[in-house]
Structure formats: structure tokens, C-alpha cells
Symmetry: D2
Subunit: 243 residues, 4 copies
Amino acid sequence: MSIRVTVWHEYRHEKTNPVVAKLYPQGIHEAIAGHLRKNKVFNVSTATLDEPQAGLTDEKLANTDVLTWWGHTAHGDVPDAVVDRVCERVTQHGMGLLVLHSGHFSKVFKKLMGTSCDLKWREDPTEREILWVTRPGHPIVQGIDDHFILDHEEMYGEFFDIPEPETVYLISSFSGGEVFRSGCTWTRGAGKIVYFRPGHETFPTYYDANVLKVIENAVKWAAPTGENVLKFGNRKRGWVEKT
Amino acid sequence: MSIRVTVWHEYRHEKTNPVVAKLYPQGIHEAIAGHLRKNKVFNVSTATLDEPQAGLTDEKLANTDVLTWWGHTAHGDVPDAVVDRVCERVTQHGMGLLVLHSGHFSKVFKKLMGTSCDLKWREDPTEREILWVTRPGHPIVQGIDDHFILDHEEMYGEFFDIPEPETVYLISSFSGGEVFRSGCTWTRGAGKIVYFRPGHETFPTYYDANVLKVIENAVKWAAPTGENVLKFGNRKRGWVEKT
Amino acid sequence: MSIRVTVWHEYRHEKTNPVVAKLYPQGIHEAIAGHLRKNKVFNVSTATLDEPQAGLTDEKLANTDVLTWWGHTAHGDVPDAVVDRVCERVTQHGMGLLVLHSGHFSKVFKKLMGTSCDLKWREDPTEREILWVTRPGHPIVQGIDDHFILDHEEMYGEFFDIPEPETVYLISSFSGGEVFRSGCTWTRGAGKIVYFRPGHETFPTYYDANVLKVIENAVKWAAPTGENVLKFGNRKRGWVEKT
Amino acid sequence: MSIRVTVWHEYRHEKTNPVVAKLYPQGIHEAIAGHLRKNKVFNVSTATLDEPQAGLTDEKLANTDVLTWWGHTAHGDVPDAVVDRVCERVTQHGMGLLVLHSGHFSKVFKKLMGTSCDLKWREDPTEREILWVTRPGHPIVQGIDDHFILDHEEMYGEFFDIPEPETVYLISSFSGGEVFRSGCTWTRGAGKIVYFRPGHETFPTYYDANVLKVIENAVKWAAPTGENVLKFGNRKRGWVEKT
């Protein structure tokens, strides 16, 4: 079974920051999409903020099994209609959603979580992140050792204002002493949502083998497995036996 | 320690439907508030939709430990600014929130849940609800037997589109064969949220001793226990030891 | 990828109760195994209580991806060494476990849950069970409508003394008015555990298309997806970078 | 309302290790009990392993609202009958249980969790632990800032083989780079269970103001709030209305 992935990217930093442009000459979305394309199970496309309707038309979403989301500097530019459409697609149609790094502050993620999604943060070139597997056996950490290290990353620290996750599959420590729930999952309606922390735009995080493996696993795990039956509304007495 | 409860009520049905007016001559809010006032631990006030700012000014909310919410016919009339204020008070300041019956479709509840909060329903005068305790020992069901019965209630049926609750303390069956997770709790930020299903406006539900007991317990349980420390934002390396 | 399923069955009722013998002439295990064998993804075998070591040797378990468990009248006859071996296989090696019906009182399930696993029950030939999907979109209910009906089943009623499930995918109502969390999942160590309620030995439950579909889905969902990395014990300072 | 706390302690290290004897001349249990006695809400007693029945007779447990547990070197010496009695008291009667530090490997905790409860560890005199609040607003962290530091502690590292907690209220980082879910809660039957990590016997951890505050809060939170109604067993059709 093929999984139709749409890699959504804000795609602004690459156009203004030479450091980012050099690291990701085709954009972060192409680094992610390029990796996924190596696996035939994925049918990969991309969408970016500056396309019409942020690249996420009704038709596009209707043909997406899993959407990945990276945004940072322009969360406010995503039209509310697109946000509503994405959230409705997740909860009512079971589209999977993988939220990456600074996507924690996207309108989409905040709407689905119902909390501020705020956190502590620090950009420091000497910061090192160690990510620890806290749910071995979970499909999302398949092929990952008990921990892995990113030599340079932005720090995100607790308290991370999210609803208690259904699963915490990774917890990070940073050189500065902070900790963070870096890998979390939730269900919302018929849809599965994954958060995965790493991916600051000024570091080569999306070329790291462990990071790419988690992304690949997460997309597989979040994909819907078939039709979703959601029935709501008024029912007359006796309907239960008649269907 | 005193708990400051604000009983919020839409208060529209009582003004237009003689059945409701007869059952609740002072409004549903006064039936609930009247019960709570018997217990000295509660400092009770009410607020209704047709007051300025829906009765929920900044000052009012700043002096509320737990807010109870009943709405049905006029969810859309609650100003978005009030909704944002209530949700912010829950997640960032730890105000407790008890959502009653048709409040499942309120803007406040939907915003905090992030899902459609939709369900099946039926108004049938012969419908009987049996509520089963599924978390004995939980403070919210203290003083409740292993089940209790409401001879006449509206039916709500699964699937109820809510995030997986942290605790399901009551599950109902209805004469028509449906089931419903009638008592649920969640944490959002520093705040505790409780949903409690019964309470259709055309039935004397808010005079039932078991219903009133659950409401009383839920308000106590959802009350904040002290100051909430939420710290977010940028941190320089080394700050950890200096605070 | 093939999934190696071992269908374990107590296999005692069939030998002493003519009603059960007539319904399941080759035993309940063969009704379940026979269905699974139709799907090539499953590599199916069976094991029963009266085989040496209850049919669950170290070698057998080492070659089992998912174990299904039906027991009722002879829970006490399962050797403790077998119980320990099964639980260790689940938590430390990620073997999936599907516990059926009266298996709720098996030593294996009670050890993994840590609670009494007690409940209310009634055998009544007129009892009808309606099972409602409470987690649409979950792989275990793929292909199931929003509810299904079993015309004759034993009643199980709440309170069911289990740890709060990670997912409740089905809730039942019974003609007598009781409710029950009939479909639940938990993670224990690297292993996934599923409980699925129906299956009283005197009813043809294991020939019902919906019941068989849920069993098939649950076995797929509980199967491990690869190697599980669990590392414990003493670590010297500095080991983190050296692995 | 008074809370009857029994502080249980293995009390062996103090008798053989001069470092521990000097730090805790009356034993770790007296350091904890001494702090709790300052608050009139607690009715405090102690019990130790070398008393008859490990100090935990039926009568003692029947008069205990919350039991705290510290053990390390002699888990195997706790009689199985005492373990069964404690677990039964938690699940069937709602006694609260606070498990401290190396109590993670006690028979009582392992039986209630159903997993190995294993972890990584290191004794290193230079190890520093930083504990981060991950559930602000929870009663157990009332009065605690967003983090606190213990200058010298034993390291415990993930993966900690426990069932997904209902709440994770503290996560630690250690100087060596490891992380640990240091504060967790679960419900088992009618009882509340809390795990709190710090407390190695060779460090003055049980004199730390933050540690003592968490212990005090946890005991209050885990205390039962009234009678627990657990009803199981056979029920005739029609019983639902007759009780």
C-alpha cells in the first residue's frame, strides 16, 4: 500500500538567510522529501506557504495521507481557512500529521492541542542534544538505538505546554541542563498526530540518519489504515438494529 | 480554603420554553448555584450570556477558581474574546472548568479539546439513562454508588469526538442501546477540565441528588491548589543555576 | 512481512460440555486459527493447556510475534513458569498479546495489569450485546461500522478493574442496562496488549464476521515491527558518546 | 481531615554503612516522618522491614491512608504475603502509595506496574540532578519553581520500564547527559500511586526543602477522599433498578 505524503514547508528562511540557503539549497522540504522518495512505499509531494492557498487546496488534502509541517517565522501568514481545512482533514478524515520543530507554534498544532504550546528556547552554537528513547518497541523508534546525539541544535526546554501525550517516545537533554519531551503522539478524531522536536534551520539536522529514520517511521505510523467511519447527529429510537 | 465558583449559564431556554421555565423558574444556573451554596467551602456567584461581556470580564475570571458552563442554543453568541479569555485563564492560570451536557458544543470546550466534539443524540421522553462508575475511588465519584439512574434524559451516543480522556469516571447506557463516556477529565496547561453529561433542560436533572453530588465533587477536584508557575521564553546558557 | 501468531486455548470446556463441543468441534482455538489462516500475512499455529508446558516452551515463544489467549475454567492450572515466560516475552521482547473474553482473569493478564481484573457478569440466554466504536480510525476497528450487535452473549459489567487503558476502542451495552469497556489497549515494556471482550464458549461468537475482523486487526496491530532495543544497568560516566 | 501516613523503610543501610548512619542517624524513615509531623494534617507512624510482618500487619494497613516505601538492598526479604496485602489494600481499598527512589525495584511496585521497572544507573559523587516540572498546576508540584537542583545524586536513566504514566510531573537531567521520568502517577483500582525518584542513601536528599515539599504534596494527593465502592460478581437480570 502506498502512502501519499505531502511535505509542507514555510520556505522563507532559505530565501533570506545565507546560512540556511547554503545548508538547504532546495529548501528543508526537499531534504525531507528527498529522503522519503528513496522508499517506494511513499508517494511524495511538497507544498509551500507562498503557493496559492499555501499549497493546501481541498484537492491536495483529499489526496494526502500524511502531512508533515515545518514553520517558524510566518505562522501568522497561513490563512485561517487552510488551518481549518487541515484540522478537519485530520480529525474527520484521519489524515496523519507530523509536526516538526518550530511547527509547535503553528496555528494548526495549537488548534489541535488546545493549549499555548509554549516552551523555553535558546540558540547557542555549542548546544548539544541527546535524545533518549522512552518507548522502545514503538514503530516510530524502530531502528533507533537507545539514544542518539545531535552535536548542534537549538535548545527547547520544559515546561512544554501540551496536553499529556498518549505516548512520549523521546526525551531530550541539552548541554545547558534542560530537558524536553521531543517525541510525542496524540489521537484527534480519526487522525494521528506526531510531534518531533529537532530541526533548527541553521543546522544540518535533516541530513542526520537518525532524524530521517524517525521521520520515515512517523509518517508510516501516522498513515490511516483504511476508511474511517464517523457518524454523528440525530437518531430515532430503534435505529440501532436497522443499520 | 474557600473555592470561588462562577456558575455560567446561557439562560435562554427558560425565557422562551414554558416547560423549562416551570422546571427552572430562576434558571438552571440558580438550581446549581443554590445547591453549591449549601456547602460553606464554596463562594458562589453566577454569570449569564446576556450580561455585558457574557458576564465574564477579566476581573470576574481573575476571581474565579472554577467555572461551570451550560450552553445549548446560543453557542455562537458567546464573543470570541470571551472564549479566548476563558481558555487562557484555564491553561495559563489553572482555573478549573466544568462543562455540562450540551456545553460539549460550546466554543470554549471545542477550543480546549481541538476536535469537533460531535456526537449522536435523541430527545425521547421515554429514554432512561444509567450511569456507571468506571473509576471508583476518584474524588469526583465520592459518595456515589456503583451506578445511578436518571429516569428521563436526552440520549447522547458514541462516537463522542473528544481526545482520549485522562480519566473516564462514568459511562452511560441508554434505553435505546447507545453508550456514552459521560464523565471525563483532561488537563490543559495548568488547568483541570471536567465534562459531565446529564442535564437536558426539559428534565429535572439538576435536582437529582447524584447529579448534584457529582457537580459538587467535580468543582472541588478542578479547583487550583495554589500558585501555578509557568515560565516560557528565551533563556541564556547558565540561567539554570542562577534562579 | 509474515506475522507468526500462536492461538493459545485452555481447551477444556469442549471436552466436557456438549453445547460447547457442538459449537466448536475442533475447539475455539481452531475457529480463530482457521479464520486467520485465510490471510497469508499470518503464519498460524495453536497451543493448548494440556500440552507439555502448556504448549508454550521457550522455543515456541521465541517464534511467536503475537499470542492470543482464551482461558476460563482452569486459570490456576497454567504453570507460574509459563506465566513468567509469557510476560517477560511481552515486556522485554515486544511479543504482542491479545486477551479474549474470560482471559481477563488469567494469571498472565492479571500480572501484566497489576490489578484484580474483576468485573460483574451474568449468563442469560436473552442477553444482547451492542458494541460501539469509540476510537474510529484506529487500525483495530478498520472495516467495522460505528457499532455491531451480538444477539447472544454473556454480560460483563463495569467496574472492570483495569489500569486506565491507553485506548478504549469499543464500549458495550447489554440488554440488562450494564456497560463495559470491551476493547482496550496498553503498552507494557516493548509489547502491545489488547483486550477484546466477546467470546463466551456457549455462543457462536467466534464465527461472527465483526468479531473475527477485530481479532484479525488486533493481531496485526499488536505485532512487533522490528528489533526492540532495551538496555538497562550500570553505566560509567562518558558512555553516552561512546556507543 | 487527618491523613494517616505510614512511612515504611527497609532500614538496613543505616546499620552497616557509616556514611548512611551519619547522614540519617535515626534512619531515612525518621527524616521523612519528622518532616511530615510538622504538618498537623498528617498522623504519622513508621514501619520497617525487620519488624514482625515487616511492620505491615492487616491492622496497620487498615489504619493507613498513604504508605511511603523506601527499599534497596533487601527487596527479596519482604514476605510475599505482605506484598499481596499492600497491593490489595491499594487497589481494593484505595490506600495511596508513594514509592521512593530505589523502591522502583520493590516487589510491591513491580507487582502493581506489571513490568520489569528496570533502568540505567550510576553512582558518581560528581553527578548533579536537575528536576524539571512538566505538569505545572498539579497538586504534587505546588510550591515548587519550574525546576530545582540536587547537587549530588545517583543517576537513573531511561529507558525506565514502566507503563505509560497518567501524569509525568517531573523529568530529570543528569550531568552525564541522561534523562529520567522522575515524577509519575498511576491509578490502580481505587488507589493512587506516585513515584518520586530522588533519595540515594549516601546523600542528604531527604533534608532538601524541595524534595520534602514534593513528598508532602504527594502524600496529600494520594490520600483517599472517602469510601470506595467496588462491587464485583454475578448479577441477576433486573438488579440494576433494585439497588
